[in-house]
Symmetry: C2
Subunit: 653 residues, 2 copies
């Protein structure tokens, strides 16, 4: 009845579709995986989970002194590039650093206002963190500073409980403490090598989320652009628009004219910069030019007396220490931790994505976990020196890259420029109108709305597009953090649902070959009478064993209905397990049950090509020994079919 | 440079391991899946998700009248068996029904006490629900009634907020309302065909949870077994043991002696029943015998005056209506919904598992979703007729099966027996001692501790065992519902973690064949110089693209290090995608990026056997067209290797 699989050479005639081919076939045994102890398995699975990049490989086989140097370079990437630093690098970095500084100063002031913080905090945050990053960071292109979305989230989350106007000191304390927690959280993810957590923000989620956040941020700028004095504190689309149209009496035409002019100028230069990367300096310099021109205009016409609101006095001097403002107790601690967590993960996602993008363009590697530690420490240091949450900003890094930055030294140049500004140039910003800051923010965030990418998602995967629009509408109608939570929840739900419903496909033989493929995808593939060949295309675990049971019964019923007309009855159920990457105890029980139930129907279950882990677990289960005896275990479908064909009664073939 | 894959017959010489074999090979095209519209795809994926059993297939091609009959039989399975009911079935069902009634009466009283409810509610719950189930349920073996774990959970969750002694009426109202919500939730899961939600309670979770719950239940019986009057209201191991040893003065030796005697008797008969299934009636009848003997003993010796507590007066009469006791508002509504949800899902899991187990033994089918509707409606009807949550109990169903039940009519026999008891026999329970009820509960739950199954889990899968012990210790040290939540969370975390770290394995050629397998599992498999053949063994999605990127870079570095000594450089990266069951937009971007990065290194990326869904998504993405051009897409690894081998410079082969 059962052929002997150790027989070395089975030459037999197989008749198919009228033709007749002779197939000379050796039957191969399925090898069990090499034996490993539980500790070895635990070790290798921990290594794959936490150290997929194998950070210690560069230390292998090196002398002790070399290991120390490599270790120091690993912790302080500055040691990699500083010793080989050349004059030509220096020249490039100076140019890039000055360029990003001209962008960082107006953006710093603007983003701080977005976070409901004093404008000067934005400049402080463009001074200390870049220096820390230059020492610890491994990206050559990342330009560090405050970013729009993290600023928006921090401002909106904190102002739910504390008013930034009435309780400005408490608000500032909460902002610094949140920054500390954001940094702590980021650094911990890196140190514990749990960086994969940010992967749960899928591309689809981020595109919807960014676009929604860009709209929320732009809506907030209507206050400055229209010159409204009593603006809503809420963030949603509905309350903001209702506030705008209920306060038409506060609209100031001078502000609107000025805002319109600078918005057109900034969007125009941005367009030029996007179309012709060589002219990047036009879009990079435009914000500073706008600030200078608008300030001069206000100063010349005394426009602050004609309804145009200005920044006002800014204190000169470098970052004051702020560690005494960190509060780790009190009634707001829950809010602060939550804000730190969300701003931390969002800014980390942006920073890592930017670093990876430019590393891929310039063909070097950044280590995600190391970057997380660098960004985290930068924020922890920042929280003690009057800075709020910072990361690598996409727009600024793009300018840095285009301006020819060679190393992280351009960040230091930027920091020094900001320092000079803080020390000597603060009075110049006294007459800078808020409306131009609003225009600068809108110009910066409008690039976050990526319609072509959303269209690509629609084309490729409809469910991913659903995630995108849920993130988008969640952010603009509910709230920034809830929109994000909905999108992440949906993404995870999708993968779990996919797991509960693994695909099972019927394989057929491609005539004249020993290849077996899905008969629905390959129209020329033909079924082999007497055999039902199913391929299970996912890990078998507790989430899907019930489904697999039902689905396989349905395949068998389908087969029997179809074949009842052809008078050939089902004799062999061949399960092709090449795609079953893992199995758990429920899965093992499922296979055992399946074999038992099939035996009642006089159908033999044959396993084909179980992978290492599956073989391993089947070997360990007492009751599964029947499943993995050599006569029901084959390396390829073709070998199984040929071995068993000879046992079928002639009319069935 | 690139071979023409449409060439029909490529006969070439391949030199391997010194030997020389002639392989005649036809190159096959990878077929795209048959085109389907978005609506068709949505339809088929909804069908697979919600209707894997295809419940409407039996209606296909039938006459209208037949369809009506089938429809009525679908809704009321009683119509399937009632018309063909025979006298011999009737005789068997009478015997089985009387047997389970003798078990159900003492268990009903005991479990109601476990739920902190009046004992008579347990009898009510053994009268109405079995009748409802007999009409709606599709299992022939399920014996319906209150069960230990759901009783325990309901009692413990409700008594956190309401005292069952001081506020007994409110407690009863909450219990009935919880039962209503449990039924509503169960029926909704069935109607919405979301039954797969119970699959998330894996076997590993359930084994740990059941064992923990059995210990918690047994600990509660120490009150009755030791005769303690002032017992703790808490459930955990620590408070119960501390209460037991702080109240040694309340221990009653008469109670302890009686309890010990009956516990030994019950466990002994249970042991006989387990070892010899033919003697099932010994263990099935033992509880009733214990109740009768102990009641006679108490009555004869007036033992109630000697420290043995008794049930006391029970009201005669059938279930009073209780729909006026359902409260859908008020301060406890949150608790009631939560209790309903947890008891509902736990009792559903038990009922479905029991129904499936016996259906498999007797080789008939139960429809999970239909069973959910039946159990749900049974509980909703029960909540209006003074019943608390009921389901198919494992121990009672086993007795029913062993006693020879043929149809659900045995449930009706049991219900009638309980009805007779309720109408005429209630005074007999007046002197039944509580200690014997405690012994009955312990005997029933001790079977839930399945050490051999836990040992099998330990042998097969260490992580699953971790889930088991977390469920176990969570239940006994924290709380029943939190222990369950921890175990479910860990199970889901495991599958998500597995998804973030898909296996990538290097394939090698098994000499003399065109089979390519994992070189770590198959020691005779040899690498092909110039080629790196990787098999990705999971769906590629947002959770794992970053990891895959890093892991593949490491494989390439490994290859280059190894091969640098052999002077053969990497020319082709073959990705075997047979096991990639799905891909999303992040996955598509990953493949596009990979191709781009590899081109910089002068390595050609070749895809082998992408499945239908993967092909479909790659076709839709504009930038992926390069990936699926015929010259870099093959049906098998062997065809790809042979086609490209000819393009390699001779020294590399």
């Amino acid at each position: 009845m059962e052929p002997n699989p150790s027989s070395n050479n089975n030459t037999m005639m197989q008749q198919q579709g009228g033709g007749c081919i002779e197939i000379s076939m050796e039957v191969h045994r399925v090898a069990p995986p090499p034996p490993r102890s539980t500790i070895q398995k635990l070790g290798s699975s921990l290594k794959e989970t936490l150290f997929p990049d194998d950070p210690l490989r560069q230390f292998k086989g090196k002398s002790t002194k070399r290991k120390w140097i490599l270790g120091a370079q690993y912790i302080f990437p500055v040691l990699c590039w500083a010793p080989n630093y050349t004059l030509s690098c220096f020249k490039s970095d100076i140019v890039a650093g000055l360029t990003i500084a001209s962008l960082a100063i107006p953006q710093g002031i603007s983003y701080a206002k977005l976070a409901n913080l004093p404008p000067i905090v934005g400049l402080y945050s463009s001074f200390v963190p870049p220096i820390v990053y230059a020492v610890l960071g491994s990206s050559k292109d990342l330009a560090v500073g405050p970013v729009s979305i993290a600023s928006l989230i921090m401002g909106s989350m904190l102002s739910v409980q504390v008013s930034p106007i009435k309780d400005s000191v408490l608000f500032l304390q909460l902002a610094f403490t949140s920054t500390f927690f954001a940094g702590l959280f980021q650094a911990s993810l890196g140190i514990l090598r749990l960086g994969f957590i940010i992967d749960f923000l899928s591309k689809a989620t981020l595109i919807g989320f960014m676009a929604g956040a860009a709209i929320i941020v732009s809506l907030q700028q209507l206050k400055a652009l229209l010159g409204i004095v009593h603006f809503t504190k809420e963030m949603g689309l509905v309350p903001v628009l209702s506030s705008v149209f209920h306060k038409t009496n506060e609209w100031s035409w001078q502000t609107i004219v000025m805002g319109f002019f600078f918005l057109v100028f900034l969007l125009g230069t941005r367009h030029v910069g996007t179309k012709k990367p060589r002219l990047f300096w036009i879009s990079a310099g435009a914000p500073l030019v706008s600030v200078v021109i608008s300030t001069l205009v206000v100063f010349a016409f005394k426009a602050q007396n004609h309804g145009i609101s200005v920044i006002g006095n800014l204190q000169e001097g470098l970052n004051p220490p702020s560690w005494n403002m960190l509060h780790f107790h009190g009634s707001h601690i829950g809010l602060v931790i939550k804000t730190g967590f969300i701003t931390g993960i969002i800014s980390l996602t942006e920073g890592i994505a930017v670093a990876r993008t430019f590393a891929a363009i310039r063909n070097y590697k950044v280590d995600g976990n190391k970057e997380m530690i660098a960004i985290g420490l930068m924020n922890m240091v920042g929280s003690s020196t009057s800075c709020y949450v910072t990361t690598g900003a996409f727009s600024r890094s793009a300018v840095n890259h285009n301006a020819g930055a060679k190393t992280a030294f351009s960040n230091i140049v930027m920091a020094i420029t900001v320092m000079v500004t803080l020390l000597f140039l603060m009075p110049l910003f006294r007459y800078t109108p808020n409306v131009v800051l609003g225009a600068i923010i809108i110009t910066a965030v409008v690039g976050l709305i990526d319609i072509p990418a959303a269209y690509q998602i629609w084309k490729v995967d409809k469910y991913d597009f659903l995630v995108t629009i849920c993130a988008f509408f969640g952010v603009i109608f509910i709230s920034v953090q809830e929109g994000l939570a909905i999108a992440v929840g949906l993404s995870i739900f999708k993968v779990l649902l996919q797991m509960t419903r693994p695909k099972t496909v019927v394989l057929g033989n491609i005539p004249g070959t020993d290849i077996y493929r899905n008969i629905h995808q390959y129209k020329d593939a033909v079924r082999v009478p007497g055999f039902l060949i199913l391929s299970i295309e996912a890990a078998i675990n507790f989430t899907n064993t019930t489904y697999l049971n039902e689905r396989i019964s349905r395949w068998i019923e389908d087969y029997q209905e179809e074949e009842s007309s052809k008078h050939s009855c089902l004799r062999f159920l061949i399960l092709e397990l090449s795609a079953v990457s893992a199995i758990d105890t429920s899965g093992v029980s499922f296979l055992i049950e399946l074999k038992r139930n099939m035996e009642k129907k006089d159908v033999q279950v044959v396993l084909v090509n179980p992978l290492g882990e599956v073989m391993d677990k089947l070997q360990r289960a007492n009751e599964a020994q029947e499943l993995i005896k050599p006569s029901s275990l084959y390396l390829t479908v073709a070998e199984a079919v040929i071995s068993f064909s000879s046992t079928l009664p002639p009319q069935a073939v």
